[in-house]
Symmetry: C2
Subunit: 122 residues, 2 copies
C-alpha cells in the first residue's frame, strides 16, 4: 500500500469517496505547466498526498521507489507551485496545473518527455 | 495481464526494452491536444497498443474494463489523430499529442478534467 489509506488521511471525505485508487492505493497525477500547457511529468498520489497538494500549495507525491511522501523540489529546489487540481470523469486520474521552477525532470530537461521522442509528425 | 505481452507484439524491440510496465503489462498514456496543450484524458497502453498508436495514426488504448483494444473514436466518432509520441525519462509513462475530433470525454465535455475541479487558484 502506498502511504496512508483514505481513512487515515485528512482528505475531504467527499473527495476521497470519488477517488478510484489502484491496488496500491495510488492515483496517477499529471503535472502540467499552467501557462504554457507543457506536460511536465506524471507522479502518483495517495489520499494524503492529494490532501497535502490541495492544502499546502506544493505538489506532493507518493514515491513508489522510496515509499515515502515526496514534496517536489524539497531536494532539487525545482518546486511545483499548485495552481489548480482536478479529478477526471472516473476519479482515477488527477490533473495538477503548476508553476514549475526550473526543470521538472531529474535529468535536467524541462519536462520528463523531452528526451525520448518515438514519433513526431512532419 | 492487459492484452499481449511485449514478446508477442510487433512493437520495435528497442522501444519495448525501454518500457516499464505495471503488473498488468500496462503503461499510462496521457493524451494532449497538440496545438492548445489541453490535457484530454489518460488511458492505458500495452506494447501492442503503443505499436498500433505509432503505426496507424490513431490513438489506441487497452480498455481495462472491457479487456480489449480500444481505438479511440471507433464507437463515438471522437477520433484522436496522432501527432507525436514520447516516453518519459523512466519509460513508465507515454505522452501522445493528438488532434482530437469533438469531445475527448465520454460525458461530452472537451476533456475528462473539466467537470470535477477541486482547487482553482484565484
Amino acid at each position: 500500500m502506498g502511504g496512508m489509506t483514505g481513512n487515515s488521511s485528512a482528505l475531504d471525505p467527499a473527495v476521497a469517496a470519488r477517488l478510484k485508487r489502484n491496488a496500491d492505493g495510488l492515483v496517477p497525477a499529471v503535472a502540467q505547466q499552467y501557462d504554457t500547457g507543457e506536460v511536465l511529468m506524471l507522479g502518483w498520489m495517495d489520499d494524503e498526498a492529494l490532501h497535502r497538494t490541495l492544502t499546502t500549495g506544493r505538489c506532493t507525491y507518493w514515491s513508489r521507489s522510496r515509499q515515502e511522501y515526496w514534496v517536489k523540489g524539497d531536494t532539487s529546489g525545482h518546486v511545483q507551485h499548485v495552481k489548480s487540481v482536478a479529478l477526471d470523469c472516473d476519479g482515477d486520474t488527477i490533473l495538477v496545473k503548476v508553476d514549475q521552477e526550473g526543470p521538472a525532470c531529474h535529468t535536467g530537461t524541462r519536462t520528463c518527455f523531452d528526451a525520448d521522442v518515438l514519433l513526431s509528425a512532419p
